[in-house]
């Protein structure tokens, strides 16, 4: 069960649940209505409304100059967005899928992330780069990458990733309002997750840079983000059976990284597991685990463990279930957090 489907207790009015996709569309529409300098651009975002229909209706409502079908060239799209931002617009770029953002890598690293710094603050680039990311939707090769490691290793970029319907709206608005470039990672498999949420009165969410404690617990902390948040919440429910009361921290933004909230939680619980879909080696989990350890060393009862995708290219659809960190794998890691005396080693290196 994902949080997104939990209706808020005490909500008086009866409302239709909204999907994350709808909330994202609302965010774009509201941002465009509020600020004429917001321009949406990308492949198929206009007439078609995007392959995930996130930009549905925007071209009709705001015209093709505000929501533009571009030629098929990602470096050109992002590069043109840089020029538009230099002239005072706020481009919101859609990359059709994670792996199709790679052609724009040079523009992203060498310009988008550095223009403010290069010009001593004279030329900030308020560009939002929306990237549907992650797996679990049965996509064929190149359609399921978790590429966040590349972005968080690039100073000058913000990296946001919502896990709830309310965050999808609130954080996308925040990304578009930011004067700095934001890589906005949309967890594909949560597009159709639902929550009681109203486009007419979207609830306020904490600013990006603040992590959210999605579930309070005392035994150990699961630190996670994006598509793995519902997995961790499910794991926490399942863990009750084992007598573990798990806290779940949703990072919401990887950059800025909310060290304080994470460290405070781990100091309370004394144990932590970092969970994400991206390959483990060189992935964000290493950074997070290392940082927790630096800050909380004397509070830790066990090493911070990681549950991540394997260090392999994303698998074909029929095998992805074996790759994705699921509830069982999270619980296995929790079980290895040295609850009894004596260190229970993880799987031994190269032992097979």
């Amino acid at each position: 069960m994902s949080t997104a489907t939990v209706a808020k207790a005490g909500t008086a009015e009866k409302r239709k649940p909204a999907t994350m996709a709808q909330a994202l569309t609302s965010a774009l529409r509201d941002a465009m209505a509020a600020d004429p300098s917001v321009h949406v651009m990308g492949e198929d975002v206009g007439t078609l409304g995007g392959v995930f229909r996130i930009t549905d209706g925007l071209a009709k409502e705001f015209g093709e100059d505000r929501c533009t079908d571009t030629p098929l060239a990602e470096a050109g799209i992002l590069g043109a967005a840089v020029g538009m931002a230099m002239y005072g617009l706020r481009p919101v770029v859609e990359m059709q899928f994670d792996a199709f953002a790679y052609p724009a890598f040079e523009q992203l690293i060498s310009h988008v992330s550095r223009m403010r710094n290069r010009t001593r603050g004279a030329m900030p680039l308020p560009i939002t780069i929306r990237i549907p990311y992650g797996g679990g939707i049965g996509g064929v090769e190149h359609h399921s990458d978790s590429s966040e490691a590349y972005y968080i290793a690039t100073p000058g970029l913000h990296v946001f990733t919502p896990a709830t319907v309310a965050d999808a709206y609130g954080m996308l608005r925040a990304a578009i309002a930011s004067d700095d470039p934001v890589v906005f990672l949309e967890p594909k498999r949560l597009y159709w997750s639902k929550a009681d949420w109203s486009a007419a009165s979207p609830e306020t969410v904490p600013p990006p840079g603040k992590a959210a404690i999605r579930r309070q617990g005392t035994s150990a902390t699961l630190v996670t983000y994006g598509p793995s948040v519902p997995v961790c919440l499910q794991a926490a429910e399942a863990a009750k059976e084992e007598g573990w009361d798990l806290e779940v921290v949703d990072l919401r933004s990887l950059v800025p990284f909310d060290e304080e909230t994470v460290a405070a939680s781990v100091r309370r619980t004394g144990r932590a597991v970092v969970v994400h879909e991206a390959p483990g080696f060189g992935g964000p989990g290493g950074e997070i685990a290392a940082r927790i350890t630096e800050r909380c060393f004397h509070h830790l009862e066990a090493p911070v463990l990681r549950v991540a995708g394997f260090d392999i290219p994303y698998p074909p659809p029929m095998l992805e279930e074996h790759h994705l960190p699921g509830v069982d794998r999270v619980l296995d890691a929790v079980a290895r957090l040295q609850w009894e005396s004596g260190y229970v080693a993880g799987p031994a290196g190269g032992s097979d």
């Binding site: 492949e43 198929d44 098929l72 049965g138 260090d311 290196g349």
Partner: protein, 385 residues
């Protein structure tokens, strides 16, 4: 002292000495109209047997597209990008290649691979979802279907170049869509090919759309074939639904490459009659009228017309074609309805020649998990029994 005086008699007011037009651009320019054979007087010279073979190929190709699309509805393919309406291009691409030549298909071009002789089940592996590619490129001389658009074009150039360096008689045929021509990799590939005079043919199927984006939002060029002149290679424009015309234009470009005269860019004007893939809703971006108009220029109809005119399309011929098509479809149905046999442990097998220590660890972990799952299933079954 003036600069002029400093150089004295060496002064050249004339055109800068190092500049010479490198070639006459005239011959590089494509014709104003797409080249056609069927429905023109030239059709008469097409060999009757060839025409009949092409007819069978096209009918089989159409059936292949229909069957693959049906398999998506039955959950047997994750996705299928159809080439219905584009069969002439696919069939011609397969036919022009010699045994030793290489095909570099885009994600859409499974039909070309199948027409070249690849097992349809192998060709459809990516789209079925059991692995990323289902055949050995070295033995089939078909590169893996390429999803990131235009990125296989430099591969084709490199391979053709390598073959030439080795003195081998190999031509590479690289396929790409109209949308793909906008990518930087298209540009870099064509430029490398021309500079290296690599034996490669770039074959653009301009089917009017890149998913929903029509050609006029993709380019302002007189034609995509006109891009050739900017690389110093000839550009050719052909009616992509006229299988005889495509065969001729592709064939002569392949010959040109084979005989050491370098690359050619070919634009075939065609139309995707189906939606982008089974997951696409084409009514969002084009009218039924447009589709109907193009149905009137169906590649199969063009051949049938010629066969009919020559009195070659009798019931028997039609029957034979339809039987060949049904045989293919039946084979696809049967074998694609069987569950793919998959071993999750293979996930670790091909990442490197030797797995890293970390991969060995992860392999052990998955093996344990699978074993545990099997054990608990066995236990559950034991309880039931």
């Amino acid at each position: 002292m003036t600069v002029l005086a400093a150089h004295g008699r060496a002064y050249h007011p004339a055109p800068p000495p190092a500049w010479q037009p490198r070639m006459d651009p005239g011959p590089l320019l494509p014709d104003a109209e797409p080249y056609r054979v069927l429905g023109t007087p030239a059709a008469a010279s097409v060999d009757a047997d060839l025409l009949k073979e092409l007819h069978v190929d096209l009918i089989r190709g159409r059936r292949y597209n229909e069957q693959a699309t049906a398999l998506t509805r039955q959950g047997r393919l994750a996705v299928y990008p159809s080439t219905t309406g584009q069969e002439a291009c696919e069939i011609a691409a397969a036919r022009v290649l010699a045994e030793q030549d290489w095909l570099f298909p885009s994600y859409r071009d499974t039909l070309a691979a199948v027409a070249r002789g690849l097992d349809p089940v192998a060709a459809l592996t990516l789209l079925r979802g059991d692995w990323h590619s289902g055949y050995d490129p070295k033995t089939s001389r078909i590169a893996p279907l390429c999803t990131p658009l235009a990125t296989q074009l430099p591969h084709a150039v490199g391979l053709a170049h390598a073959a030439r360096l080795k003195g081998d008689d190999v031509v590479a045929l690289a396929m790409v869509g109209d949308g793909g021509t906008s990518e930087g990799d298209f540009h870099e590939a064509l430029n490398f090919a021309a500079v290296w005079q690599a034996p490669v043919v770039f074959f653009v199927q301009n089917n009017g759309f890149a998913i929903s984006v029509p050609l006029e939002k993709q380019t302002a060029a007189p034609s995509l074939a006109h891009k050739a002149v900017g690389y110093g290679m000839p550009g050719r424009l052909v009616d992509g639904n006229d299988v005889a015309a495509v065969l001729e234009v592709l064939g002569s470009a392949i010959e040109r490459a084979r005989s050491g005269h370098g690359p050619t860019l070919i634009e075939a004007i065609t139309y995707r009659l189906d939606a982008h893939t089974n997951a696409d809703d084409a009514t969002r971006y084009r009218t039924d009228d447009e589709v109907t108009t193009w149905r009137g220029h169906d590649p199969i109809a063009l051949v049938e017309q010629e066969l009919t005119a020559r009195g070659l399309l009798d019931d028997e011929t039609a029957q034979a074609a339809s039987e060949a098509a049904e045989k293919l479809a039946a084979d696809m149905r049967e074998r694609m309805h069987a569950d793919a046999v998959l071993d999750p442990m293979e996930l670790f097998e091909h990442v490197y020649a030797e797995p890293t220590p970390q991969l060995r660890e992860q392999r052990a972990q998955l093996r344990e998990e699978l074993q545990a799952a099997q054990d608990s299933q066995a236990a559950a079954e034991g309880e039931q029994a």
